[in-house]
Symmetry: C2
Subunit: 131 residues, 2 copies
DNA sequence: ATAGAGCACTCAATATAGTCAAGTACTTGA
DNA sequence: TCAAGTACTTGACTATATTGAGTGCTCTAT
């Protein structure tokens, strides 16, 4: 899209948002219910706390995630989805359906070294060419 | 997800794929029909040719994009979606529906400096707090 | 009382991913 | 011959993500 479309087209802006690393993972995990910071971190796995804190702050500022600090001792935090966030369920489900159809039969031992599965040229080529 | 889930859960792997920068933009653009390299680059906008070439190669290796070299003079290349790629339409449409509901009313002048809209802490906070 | 563990982060350094500007090698048309 | 279009590639640079450690709190066990 041109600069104009990037800024004015809602779909483009949503894509820009969802393509941020870990955002979809966070939403997917939170769809199962609210979680504390470390709990969420473990559930997602692979995403370090620095990045997670950044993403959570960003998502909160967009009204997708709601941070709640419980006034108990010790003070506990929980992150949950707002109604706006819950509606991303449709996106996650569409991804899930696509994945079941097209990724389910692949073998599982993707050579992930760090971070997540990358599609950088060559990384998955040998593997993908099997299917 | 734990290392196991990251590798074995199809949805997680699909998310890892779709969160790669520009992948969703490429798919969305190609949904309208095949395009040549420069044409696609212009249509997406913002994505430089280096990254585009990498993404295209990765997506091709995953059977989502099909590269066709036409034997004309000068030789023209066109990138189109495979059936597997076309099925991502459901994901794009889900994103589009969500975007229309939640992003449409926002003002358009998102402070994009380079690349795409970032949700890094603070970048959109002031803006998002308006809605 | 002190140690160890869990919570929710933050920081600085480093690694990786993405971008920019330019260049390659080709053909077409003026 | 020159400018422009095709489809990329290269190298330098920058933005972003990750690592590993550390902070300050509380709770439980010894």
């Amino acid at each position: 899209m041109a600069r104009d479309e990037a800024t004015f087209c809602p779909a483009s802006r949503a894509i820009n948002l969802l393509q941020e690393k870990w955002v979809l993972h966070i939403v997917r995990t939170l769809l199962d219910g609210p979680r504390g910071f470390n709990d969420l971190s473990r559930a997602i796995g692979g995403c370090n706390t620095t990045t997670l804190a950044q993403r959570l702050e960003g998502l909160e500022s967009l009204g997708i995630v709601k941070k709640t600090v419980h006034s108990v001792m010790p003070p506990k935090t929980s992150y949950g989805l707002t109604p706006r966030g819950v509606e991303l369920d449709a996106v996650i489900q569409a991804i899930d359906r696509w994945a079941r159809r097209h990724l389910a039969s692949s073998d599982g031992d993707v050579p992930v070294r760090r971070g997540t599965t990358s599609i950088r040229a060559g990384a998955l080529r040998a593997r993908a060419s099997q299917g």
